[in-house]
Symmetry: C2
Subunit: 217 residues, 2 copies
Amino acid sequence: MPVKVLDFWGSPFAARVRVALAEKGVSYESKEEDLLVGKSDLLLQSNPIYGKVPVLLHDDKPVLESSNIVYYIDETWPNPQLLPACSYGRSRARFWTDFIDKKVYDVGRNIWMGKGDEVEAAKDEFIDVLKKLEGALGDREYYAGDQFGFLDIIFVSLSCWFPTYEKYGGFMVEEETPTIAAWLKRCYSRETVAKSMPDSQRVIEFVGMMRKMHGIE
Amino acid sequence: MPVKVLDFWGSPFAARVRVALAEKGVSYESKEEDLLVGKSDLLLQSNPIYGKVPVLLHDDKPVLESSNIVYYIDETWPNPQLLPACSYGRSRARFWTDFIDKKVYDVGRNIWMGKGDEVEAAKDEFIDVLKKLEGALGDREYYAGDQFGFLDIIFVSLSCWFPTYEKYGGFMVEEETPTIAAWLKRCYSRETVAKSMPDSQRVIEFVGMMRKMHGIE
């Protein structure tokens, strides 16, 4: 059954899907969307509600929304298992996934899209979000224990935009949340993560272009 | 292992948990929170991130966020199974759950909390949300086929506030989305739903009081 990903190089959400498929050793065809020029018909037909990447097409059936796709990947290709084995552990993974999905990217965008005082407020909120996620990690190596897993993928994939937030927010993740910074280094030491993640410098250039398009600079 | 629910009679999210436990035949202790007077220490300790009902305490371990709780209930007490058996069906249930969680209650609140033109815009958006959910139901009896299941619980529980939205938005769900109205009747014919849902008239009175508190009328 063929596996395709409707992809975009700079999307931290598409990066989740790339990391999960790499962890499972599933080969797939990546179809890069040119979001600035226009979305493909395949994307709009596959995701009529949101029209967003990533989409996983498995045997031509669309699976939508990145955290949902990672869940589907884990259930469809069970080895190695990414979600915790116990139902309580899975409920905790889903809770923090929802928290990350609600907070990290949107608050981060308020840093690089904000004007004046908005930037400072967004930076403070972003650091508060990171500290809550640092609390959830505790003294574990990874979010569910000593194995890299579901929640690590969900969170680490968004980190490719952290240098952008640091640049425009005027802060350093390593200074504010050193435990998160150490966990990030552990995650990036995995080839599945390192090779799936967009280049942070290219993200910074992309965001600079977006800021010009939106008349912020 | 004792099961407790930190509950609030009028919460459509707490209603999800009550319906799911009723479907499973799990007996539990309901601890009613008085949200107007103040939240209990147990609620604030169990849910430090959001401080919201419902919370499921299973053997004193907290499970948070209503759709996540229904998922946990289905995995912990497997009979009858609420989620679809196949991973693609489960991905579809999670996708629409997320859509419902993002849209239904918040857009509905914009109807009864809105002022002037905001109300009309919120009403139009709410009807659009219902039409999308009507499209997802298609010609099936329930969301996953001929059995009442996970997504039915997620959506039907929010319907106890529909008469409030109809009153302040000046529309009828039955006229706008007759297929949804017929599905609602099927759901309410189940004792597990009917006995778990707050009284819609009492919700209308509660919302009238909230509007006075917020200076809307």
